[in-house]
């Protein structure tokens, strides 16, 4: 005879196993899809990239970068105000486009890291940058929901845009260095 406590145990165990199984299946499928790109379906991957205005990205980024391309120590020394930055990038929608592109760029870096271990250091930097942009965009979305988007824009958006700019440079460098296919298309997209 099975006790009530054993029945509770089985119910909880089934729930835990179902949650574990669903999480593993979902994330494993995402992993498999990422592994296939970019050679499995290059056109589909590029279709996931949305065009951004590189000149505007560069204009915003120059406020946080010095002449050697590294970060300025004094971030307050900015030539653009939050309103100008906001209109240049196309508001939160523009940032979301960048966030989606970051996910694609991580997929590209993931592939390079898998097949070209020598490029791991560069690919790792790309991955960290993409997560940083995602973090900034996450904060901005929260600010938008509370009606404080413009106030938070200079704190979160400008670093995100500059990080994005540096990251696209690194992705292009990776593809150029290892003669990967699709460099021309990538240069046009990002």
């Amino acid at each position: 005879m099975i006790s009530d406590r054993s029945i509770y145990f089985v119910v909880v165990l089934v729930a835990v196993l179902a949650a574990l199984g669903t999480a593993v299946a979902y994330y494993y499928l995402r992993y498999r899809r990422r592994r296939r790109f970019p050679y499995g379906n290059w056109e589909s991957l590029l279709a996931r990239l949305s065009a951004v205005d590189r000149d505007k990205i560069a204009l915003i980024s120059q406020n946080l970068l010095n002449e050697s391309g590294s970060w300025r120590i004094d971030e307050d020394d900015s030539d653009l105000n939050a309103t100008q930055n906001l209109s240049l990038i196309g508001g939160l929608k523009g940032l979301e486009v960048m966030e989606r592109n970051c996910a694609v760029l991580v997929d590209l870096a993931f592939y390079v890291q898998q097949w070209y271990p020598e490029a791991s250091v560069v690919a790792e930097q790309l991955r960290l940058n993409a997560r940083e942009v995602g973090w900034h965009v996450g904060r901005l979305k929260s600010a938008a929901q509370t009606g404080k988007l413009e106030i938070f824009f200079s704190d979160y958006a400008q670093p995100a845009i500059t990080t994005y700019y540096l990251m696209t440079r690194r992705v292009l460098a990776l593809y150029e260095r290892y003669n990967l296919p699709g460099l021309g298309d990538l240069q046009r997209a990002i």
Partner: protein
Amino acid sequence: MHLDHTDYLFWAAGLLAHIVLLVVISARHRAETFPFFTTLISANIVKTITLYLVAFHGTRYSYRVTYSCLTVVDLVLQLCVVYEVALHVFRPTGRWAPDVRRGFIIVVAASITVAAGLTTLAQTPAKTWLAAVLIRGNFFSSALMSELFAGMIVLSVTVGLPWKPHAARVAQGLGFYSLVTILTEAGHNIFGMERSSRISGDLTLLRIVTYLICVMYWIVMLWRDAPAPRELPAEIRSQLVAFQRLLEYDLRKLRALK
């Protein structure tokens, strides 16, 4: 202690499979990459021989005590293997990725909490304290291992880090075995672990067969070479120069915009 032909058969099969796996690990030089996994397999060979000798010459109580002690060693080594796999996945440049440490600690803490909670919830119909500890310990260990591997998969995909081929195979084998043992050990928690029980015997058999399948899988997968990294083009140096020019061009454009 009375043992039938099936017991002897599985003991022999387990010993042989482990020896073959150890030969594969040595012959293909995997021990340098996976020292903890190699230790686990070596320890399982020692465990199989020790338990055979104790079962043949000792009492049922001495067998259970020996089995319990070796199970603790087995759990510690399995946790070491989890850590070893994590080192291969979460250290892409030779040191821990900065955005992974916190997530990994959360995965470990959550896995221990959930496994402990499930183990506490179970009502073990054991007659002795040693049997109760053994049944609960086995269940805790299998739940913990399954959750750790599941958590590592979720974490690696979230942060975007790839699995190295052999590390992935080791994890898949151990993860699958842990998942099946959750079910078998849950069965032991409900129906007991008496050898006279038909259900208990079938559950033990299922666990042993699953483990043998995993050992076979490791033999094949660790014998195979990982896909070779692609050859780098010869003109890397000139391309680096080209990249430098691209950077200089971008910087000039940035300065002109100011």
